[in-house]
């Protein structure tokens, strides 16, 4: 069965620090990859997505992610975080069944 692992449960950073959140998945076929963000008290919103082509994808608010097929990974990065990036981040993997499998999420706290 497909699974998605986010090993960082809670990350605390100071403003301007660089961010990298890990995401690994287990599925041998073609996948679509997503990062969603959930700001406190809000619903999930799409940050970025990968379907095909350039494995380095850029999303909103300065986020980017790199798909490394050989490592089954899709890590999220941002060179300089802001207090407003405080949120929970979810990695998700889509397969041909049109369902998404979500990781357990990483809570990011940015200290001003």
């Amino acid at each position: 069965a497909q699974s998605v692992s986010q090993h960082n449960h809670h990350v605390i950073l100071s403003e301007a620090a660089s961010l990298e959140l890990g995401c690994n998945y287990s599925y041998g076929g073609t996948v679509n990859l997503f990062w969603y963000v959930q700001y406190p008290g809000q619903h999930l919103q799409l940050l970025l997505k990968y379907f095909s082509g350039d494995p380095l994808v850029k999303g909103i608010k300065g986020f980017e992610a790199e798909f490394i097929k050989s490592k089954f990974s899709f890590n999220l990065r941002k060179p300089s975080v802001q207090w407003s990036d405080t949120a929970e981040y979810f990695c998700a993997v889509g397969t041909g069944a049109n369902n998404l499998f979500f990781g357990t999420g990483t809570r990011l706290t940015v200290i001003p």
Partner: protein, 115 residues
Amino acid sequence: DAGITQSPRHKVTETGTPVTLRCHQTENHRYMYWYRQDPGHGLRLIHYSYGVKDTDKGEVSDGYSVSRSKTEDFLLTLESATSSQTSVYFCAISSLAGASGNEQFFGPGTRLTVL
């Protein structure tokens, strides 16, 4: 934002009572989903629908049923609520049109407390 509404937004109920949550969309998307979100578990799929009257089970379907009689509405029913069903429930929609693929758009959520 995608046109997705959920009702009610908050509900407190007692163990053993039936509860129905409603998801309504104005996007005419074919696929609709119900997830529950719990600390340490992320989002887990309860049921989904791939068309009117076409539904299937997800990862955590026990104790839940769904119905979809119209494209725009997807109902989630807890036949007899239990405290383990206390959670935040999110509805999502998706379309396979164009490059959207599996991308899902989420509703605002319903916070359900079962006492």
